[in-house]
């Protein structure tokens, strides 16, 4: 064992407290090392064993996801998931949370979240082509909500717009359950040639280790452990240094890395994300089974007198670590100098399987790498299944006096109202390949694959109401809705990424939500042949004992082989016939109708029959591919009535609905039964589709006709479209109107 100067062993007790290593974990470290760690070493263990890096509470359950499939090239374990899309190309994507930092400093927290997820994608050799964002805020009337919305949205736009990657879609919910913990989940999608994908594992010995990008400062030290802690009274005052993002440097980093990747110079590469230099060097060496030695004197530094501890734990943004093929240093230097970025050889790979750090002529860390990974804590935390809620019997509810007014209430509610105020701040068109984004009436964003006739369809989905009512069904539903949204534009669903946002896993009921959601998601992924290829877990989203609703956000990617074989829900004309695919049972439990009209969040989540989901979706996709179904919309929040209203608003054409079945009309209108789609077509084509559905054993009904300037139900209950549009478009701008421009 190399000698470690005893002076680094001072103050260990404080360090334990500071570093969030438990007493038991400290015992394991002592046993593995056969000595006390010094403070640098302890800092490394503490971040590597934090929830954020080690997934100690979640690992056991993440194994339940199916992660392989015909198109999967790399699943979880790499920086991002990689799927084959034909023609020697791959799509590379991942979603990540930046919840805690965004609550503390909304602009920079959200901005650096976008920066981080972009690096995960271009690290693997992909040019990023699209960004998505899934946002959850607290009650609209909560005093902090407006400022958080405006800061987060400006931060996402500020970063994504500047790096020049279009932000093409997302979702936004408001719920008092997020008052103390907002969720900011960002997803990036990139494109690479299949034979030019880069991975992180360092397998060769004696290769130079290169640091590129921004200089290291004292930013966000211990961000990874912060992301693994609950907020409490006073944490707003006790603010850690936050990281500031620099999208301009990121843009240069993307171009420089892609330029270097086109040369035969890089052996492996990894971005410096949470726990910066520590996690990148440890992960590169351990996954390739080699050792690594770094000389911290060579690390480009922004501040003076930085200690080894600070350098290893800094979370300065826009930095990458790469292992070069020997002799290619000059190529890297030329390219990074051209882009005016720092570049330095800071170490070498070794055959010791140890992490050795030198600083000012001394060895400040000498750790065996295996125990950092192998001995990382892995907990089987106790979990309590959530209580099953009873279903809601619509016959026991009072029908609303005016169905059109009830529809107006839902369409102008926080979750359903237009999010234009948000997405208008995102550049959706840069790169000139956006075919459908938030501004278009489409269930998924569509981004053309450059210089081709193919496209990727992208969506993010999760309905936290359902996950709270029933984690298992809610988990299934999140995956099924993503699959349905891809299907509704005509795409073949390929795979998903996820962001599992939950409360404190040390509480059995929270752990129960976590396990329930994962098992539901896994079941849906299996049945729908929709593997999980990357993802992220964010726990401890809890303030003063109040946990967020379980929110397993799903980001999904599908392939459109021929751009002219796609559907949107624009292009509706008077006289078109509306069909509904799938069965309507009037399921009102956990629905938006219950929340906004009955003022009651009760009832069971709508069950998802995955076999039916698959059958109905496969049918709809085939009709789109055959060119018959061109106007398609999936049904989700707010049920059939809200889906119809979306379509009417997108085209500013009224729709006349007719129903004479057995359900109370309001249950028929607002029930949130799953596996359903709306299709509109000219009468003759609608008739063909109806016949095909019947023949395929797929439930189908005629809902009504397009025409007029209102939505009507059985000839009455009219809801004027202009009024609906004013209310639907106006809700968010009215909320934000009082918000001043102090965000910048």
């Amino acid at each position: 064992m190399a000698s470690v100067d005893p002076k680094y062993a001072e103050g260990i007790d404080e360090a334990i407290a500071l570093d969030h290593v438990t007493a038991e974990e400290y015992e394991v470290i002592l046993k593995e090392l056969g000595r006390a760690p010094n403070i640098v070493e302890l800092g490394i263990f503490s971040v590597m064993w934090s929830e954020h890096c080690s997934y100690k509470s979640s690992r056991l359950h993440l194994g339940k996801f199916p992660t392989t499939g015909e198109r999967v090239v790399y699943g979880p374990g790499e920086n991002a998931g990689v799927v084959d899309i034909g023609d020697n190309q791959v799509a590379i994507f991942k979603m990540e949370s930046h919840n805690h930092p965004s609550y503390i400093e909304p602009y920079q927290g959200a901005a650096t979240g976008v920066g981080g997820i972009l690096r995960d994608v271009f690290t693997m050799g992909a040019r990023p082509i699209a960004l998505m964002n899934a946002l959850r805020f607290g009650d609209p009337s909560h005093p902090k909500t407006r400022q958080l919305v405006s800061g987060v949205v400006a931060g996402i736009g500020g970063y994504g717009n500047c790096v020049g990657v279009p932000t093409v879609g997302g979702e936004t919910n408001f719920d008092k359950g997020y008052n103390g913990n907002i969720l900011v989940n960002a997803m990036a999608v990139g494109l690479a040639d299949r034979d030019k994908v880069f991975t992180a594992a360092a397998r060769e010995i004696g290769y130079p280790v290169l640091y590129v990008g921004s200089k290291t400062g004292r930013d966000g030290i211990h961000g990874a452990t912060m992301a693994s802690a609950e907020f409490g009274e006073g944490s707003e005052e006790n603010r850690p240094t936050v990281q500031v993002g620099d999208p301009f440097t990121e843009k240069k980093l993307i171009e420089a890395c892609l330029e270097l990747m086109s040369e035969d110079a890089i052996s492996s590469i990894q971005d410096m994300g949470a726990a910066g230099l520590t996690s990148s060097s440890v992960e590169m060496a351990s996954s390739g089974g080699v050792g690594i030695e770094l000389n911290l004197d060579h690390v480009p530094q922004r501040e003076t007198a930085m200690t080894a501890y600070e350098m290893m734990l800094s979370e300065s943004q826009e930095r990458m670590l790469m292992i070069l093929k020997p002799g290619s240093e000059h190529i890297a230097e030329r390219i990074f100098k051209k882009w005016d970025l720092d570049v330095a050889t800071i170490g070498v790979t070794t055959d010791t399987k140890r992490l050795v750090l030198k600083h000012k002529g001394e060895v400040v860390c000498d750790l065996p790498l295996d125990p950092i990974g192998d001995k990382a804590p892995k907990y089987d935390r106790p979990h309590l299944p959530s209580e099953v809620r009873a279903n809601i019997d619509p016959n026991r509810l009072k029908a609303p006096a005016h169905l059109g007014e009830a529809l107006y209430t839902l369409m102008t509610s926080p979750d359903m109202a237009s999010k234009r105020w948000i997405w208008e701040q995102y550049d959706r068109h840069v790169m000139a390949d956006t075919v459908a984004s938030s501004q278009n009436p489409a269930d998924a964003a569509i981004v053309r694959i450059h210089k081709s006739d193919k496209a990727l369809a992208i969506t993010t989905d999760c309905t936290p109401r359902y996950c709270y009512a029933d984690p298992y069904e809610g988990g299934k539903q999140a995956v099924a809705e993503a699959w349905r949204n891809l299907t509704a534009v005509g795409a073949e669903p390929i795979a998903i990424t996820d962001c599992l946002n939950f409360g404190n896993p040390e509480r059995p009921e929270i752990m129960g939500q976590f396990v329930g959601c994962i098992e539901g998601m896994a079941e849906a992924c299996r049945t729908l042949n929709f593997p999980v290829v990357s993802g992220n877990v964010s726990l401890y989203n809890e303030t003063d004992g109040q946990a967020i609703p379980p929110t397993p956000a799903v980001g999904a990617v599908g392939l459109i082989e021929q751009l002219d074989q796609r559907a949107t829900y624009g292009g509706l004309e008077a006289g078109d016939v509306l069909l509904i695919i799938g069965e309507t049972h009037g399921h009102l439990g956990a629905s938006l109708y219950m929340r906004h009209v009955e003022g009651d969040e009760d009832g069971s989540a709508p069950p998802v029959d995955l076999a039916v989901e698959k059958r109905n979706g496969d049918f709809v996709r085939a009709e789109i591919k055959a060119g018959r179904a061109k106007i398609v919309h999936d049904l989700s929040d707010g049920g059939l009535a809200c889906g119809v209203a979306d379509m009417a608003l997108a085209n500013m054409i009224g729709i006349k609905l007719a129903y004479n079945g057995d359900l109370p009309v309001f249950a028929w209108l607002f029930g949130e039964d799953q596996a359903r789609y709306l299709i509109a077509a000219k009468p003759a084509i609608a008739e063909d589709i109806r016949r095909n559905a019947k023949a395929a054993g797929v439930p189908v009904d005629v809902l009504g006709l397009a025409g007029g300037d209102a939505i009507t139900i059985n000839g009455g209950h009219g809801l004027d479209l202009i009024r609906l549009k004013t209310g639907h478009d106006g809700w968010l701008p009215a909320l934000m109107a009082g918000e001043a421009a102090a965000a910048e």
Partner: protein
């Protein structure tokens, strides 16, 4: 009275603007330029003549709106 408020990034917080300006000054041939930091300057007109009250009021404005305490510091100058 008039209040002049200087808002600066705290030491240690990355200032990419300052860095870009310093780079450009060097490119333009200015020599002997060290670090550059960019901040905000806000001038507020106040309808009061009481300096002490004005100072308290402006301080409250900074804490509530004008500066972001997570990353910024500020200083206040008053003039008649």
């Amino acid at each position: 009275m008039k209040a002049r408020i200087h808002v600066f990034l705290k030491d240690g917080v990355l200032d990419p603007q300052g860095e870009a300006i310093s780079g450009s000054l060097k490119h333009l041939g200015f020599e002997g330029v060290g670090s550059v930091r960019q901040g905000k300057l806000i001038e507020v007109e106040l309808h009061t003549a009481d300096a002490e009250a004005a100072h308290d009021q402006v301080k409250a404005m900074c804490d509530k709106l004008l500066a972001n305490p997570v990353i910024e510091n500020y200083s206040i100058e008053l003039s008649a």
